[in-house]
Symmetry: D2
Subunit: 341 residues, 4 copies
């Protein structure tokens, strides 16, 4: 941490800061520039970092600049070679394969999920995605089929050799969900639901954590840290669009998140172009862009009758559009040294 003093900070103000740094168990390290003094805060003093941060508002202090990363276990330096997460059935995320998950926004019925599962498996998907518990902005919207939906999805996946990924919204649902799914997804709205993250740290199943719509990369990696610190290293991250001033798309999908997370962290990085754009005709271009930027995996909404979907129909691909997209992705993957089965 560096404490940047104001240009006109008095001697007394500097001394107060220096003293307070020592009281908190760190060593102050003064550097007097022509314009102002900068004080380095060196050493370790567990848990007292935020006490030093309180000096940000002390007289004569201009700014406090963090130097150390607030995340450790999620950092690339922990595992420079990158993590490869095994999902089962020989599917791994983080290696040379680009893994594609596909399926409807929500499980609506057994025939629906069975139909979609068959179509996406035929096109090359390895995971079946679909919501049984749906976080909806309005209490009057369809909230998902719950356990019944999980059962339908598990059956459809098993029929077609797929793995299942589905969203968990609350710690109380974990026990139920681990019986049906292969990957537990944490949605964007829950990226900072710390009680949920802490409980998922105790689970021994892969977790897919989505970036919140207003979350910085640092905050995403701090949330990842909650899961890792609990002992669950089977963690995958996902970009699904951030909120910006532009309202033409539901969100602005931040493709740069893919190479950035790869640089900052060893964790695999997934792209969700369906939520990232909210518009069917933008899904394929953004999916292609994601693979070209180096995504390890992809989640894509597919519905056999999107005009009749109970939720998010407008961003779901028709099965034949998905199949065409898979062919395009297969052409792009070799440009980044990857392949799609």
């Amino acid at each position: 941490m560096l404490i940047k003093m104001a240009a006109n900070a008095t001697k007394g103000q500097i001394e107060h800061v220096v003293e307070r740094i020592r009281e908190c168990g760190f060593q102050p390290h003064l550097s007097e520039g022509e314009e102002r003094t900068v004080i380095g805060v060196v050493g370790k003093s567990d848990g007292r970092r935020s006490e030093v941060e309180a000096l940000r508002a002390a007289p004569g202090v201009d700014e406090i600049i963090p130097i150390a990363n607030p995340f450790k276990l999620a950092s690339r330096t922990m595992r420079p070679e990158g993590s490869i997460i095994e999902l089962g059935k020989g599917v791994t995320i983080g290696g040379t394969q680009v893994v594609v998950g596909a399926g409807p926004c929500a499980v609506e019925s057994a025939p629906q999920i069975e139909e979609v599962a068959g179509r996406v498996a035929a096109a090359g998907a390895k995971l079946l995605r679909g919501g049984a518990f749906k976080p909806r902005s309005s209490p009057y919207s369809f909230q998902g089929l719950g356990e019944a939906g999980l059962k339908m999805m598990r059956a459809a996946a098993d029929n077609h050799g797929l793995l299942v990924v589905s969203e968990v919204m609350d710690p109380s649902q974990i026990e139920l969900m681990v019986r049906y799914v292969d990957v537990l997804q944490v949605g964007a709205r829950n990226m900072q639901n710390f009680n949920l993250l802490r409980e998922l740290g105790k689970v021994r199943k892969p977790v897919l954590l989505k970036r919140g719509i207003a979350a910085t990369f640092e905050e995403l990696l701090c949330s990842a840290e909650y899961v890792l610190a609990g002992g669950n290293y089977e963690l995958i991250l996902c970009e699904r669009g951030i909120r910006t001033f532009e309202t033409y798309t539901r969100n602005t999908m931040d493709i740069s998140a893919i190479p950035i997370i790869h640089k900052l962290s060893h964790l695999p990085m997934t792209a969700d172009p369906s939520h990232g754009t909210g518009r069917r005709d933008k899904v394929a271009p953004m999916a292609r862009a994601s693979v070209a930027a180096g995504a390890d995996a992809m989640l894509i909404e597919v519905h056999h009758q999107p005009d009749k979907a109970l939720s998010d129909g407008a961003q779901s691909l028709y099965p034949e559009q998905f199949a065409k997209l898979m062919d395009e992705l297969r052409m792009i993957a070799p440009a980044v040294g990857r392949e799609i089965a």
Copy 2:
């Protein structure tokens, strides 16, 4: 809902949309302009609204424009005169009084909360604020004292005739918290934790719901709807800053949220200038601005030793700064027909 067709939409495309609207149980209402056709969707058909929304991506459709508000119980039209929430001990929010809550970010010890409670009560605060469960970005930061903290806060509040407001992070904490607090606060990160909101709809205690840092007014009111729909009408909203491109302040406090929420909803509106700015010297100007803009209540962080606070010290006022601010607020309140006791 209005469906704006593309300028070059074909007859067949328009017919498909019309037919689908009828299938979902609504009446289509065509208006053919010089440039394009706009189709009104009239009538009621519970739960099938999102099916019509799926047409957004249908061929020939340009855009879907919602007309009805997605929130009902939270809407101003439900209670044009505005809601007044009784907190107990004669304190009401939403009337002519501007109510001020004050206290530390986190309860740290019995002497700390006792000292702060005495100081803020003397200056005119009616509520004691303080966290016992702290949502922290990093798992390595101080997470709060839990029930022990709640006990300390309750005792300090009772000693000085104050009410207690504190944050609940998870449904599992509700039962414990209602025994100690007068107002259950939902933090910005949990504004769309729908399971938590649904549970708080069953409680019979006032809830203070903070706007998420990336939440639109409509989303805030939809989240309010979850609590109201559960039958809990003792609901208060709060602006605490939104995330923008500007990083000089922790957040950009959106003062306009105060008159806007007052127009859209009957619920009282609170301002939190401490989280709204994150900088001590900005708290007083923004608190004055909030009262001038019509805030019904205010939450302000105060600490007797902010340089030594375990969290958020940089945005906490000294007790004497708080007392001075209260005097300024008392001068401003009459300009908006209000008073501060």
Copy 3:
């Protein structure tokens, strides 16, 4: 400037950076922490700062952190007591008076501007605002009356003892405008029109520079620096709303800009609640909030027939609303040690 090396930076990478700093004429200053090395860049070497900044992407470099402000003449340290700008007719901005400018978005006709000038002068305004050259998003919108409009505005202002403020869009308009106006306004869209700013540095008339809708405080002050560096110290800044994710209001007016600019700079700070919100019923609350937060001046759109205005009618106050607002502002000003004539 500080160069934060990566945790795993090699010795050779650190040496390359050190050498390059010396080549550019600065002194490197190493600080080896437990986790990583931080290199301070000390000394002066005009114009070569951006060469050192290029090291941001050099191998082993994590980040470059600026320490010195990029603005000098605009900085508070240049004039700690604050600047007071004299506009003529005894009106000064930056002192104990809060100065209010009012008038229509655009000058539409001689009777219109005469009528509005009379009404706002009677209510206590000191400046008449109004556009003769209008920057409009669409080439098909009303673009202003040009010189004819300036003449009308000058006459109306003189009739009622007001000063004139109007927007200049291009260097080629300056010569014309200085003949009619007392304050040259630079609009938000031109905040980084550096050729225009440079020319305004040569003028000897007050300039009012509005913050761009996506401009940081630092960028606003860097733009101010262009005017000051040209020798024109009669400069006033203005907050008029920034662009955020929220679309209910035209912009999100950042009231915190007022105390922040007052801390960072000696220049007076104005608030424009009309453009800041874009909605008539939000103008008064935000104007009151601005005075409560310490604004030195205010620009408010007033039209005698806002429903018939050629532009921005929806955000213009009726003259009687403006008069009522002035009374409220007179009640609030004393709370911040100010007064309104």
Copy 4:
């Protein structure tokens, strides 16, 4: 245009709106829903649209919803097959070729631009990019070599069979620039410099217009309209990153702008991954993503000694990185039915 009345709008309020619509020369078209009345505004009445928009703040009006696009000539419906812009020397943008422009941020010297031109031409670039007039946030930064720089760039381009693209900042520079360059670039900061756009509408040379960092797609296309309305149809658009809350990258490059502009407009769309990210190691992934998303052209900063560049060195590629990237782009282009020479 649609006028959405409030749920509790009175009969008199509705009549006032209806009457005002007629006064402005339009026909009102009432649609009375169960919850509220919506009034369609039908017909044409040039220039009086903004008068109707002023009703947004009239009593009983909730919102005004535009239906017609504010841009016409830029709209896809004007030229559904898309525009192909001929730059000279057989290079066209908008056809099956993906055209790449490359070069330094600023022209620094004749040997520098000659060296870079040779390297990028060898790798397959068709345009040489480089700034002679530099828009810099700070007045103390390097401002470009002016005409001398243009001469150097022209000579280097001619030596290597390249075309020249360079930025024009002010109407006064146009006459000079058209003598040296093949494409006139308008930078992001000037996207709404309407005087400049109007003058460029009179030029008969291709213009490349960059999206402002806070500009919506609609605003970009309205700015395009200024150039087209002047009679210059040789217009190319460019995405170079928008400003969001994330500060890790200089901007967030909005890859979705590529398919969106292609849908809304017939104009070709370029990507600038160098400014879009501001970090060298992110340029290649984002350039690949842009081609995969369908970009018609690309602008990439390349410098033979980026560590010593006078500006933007941190985002410039080394020539050998550029050559490698070109090879990757050649592999990706066929997936979208394109090729790179």
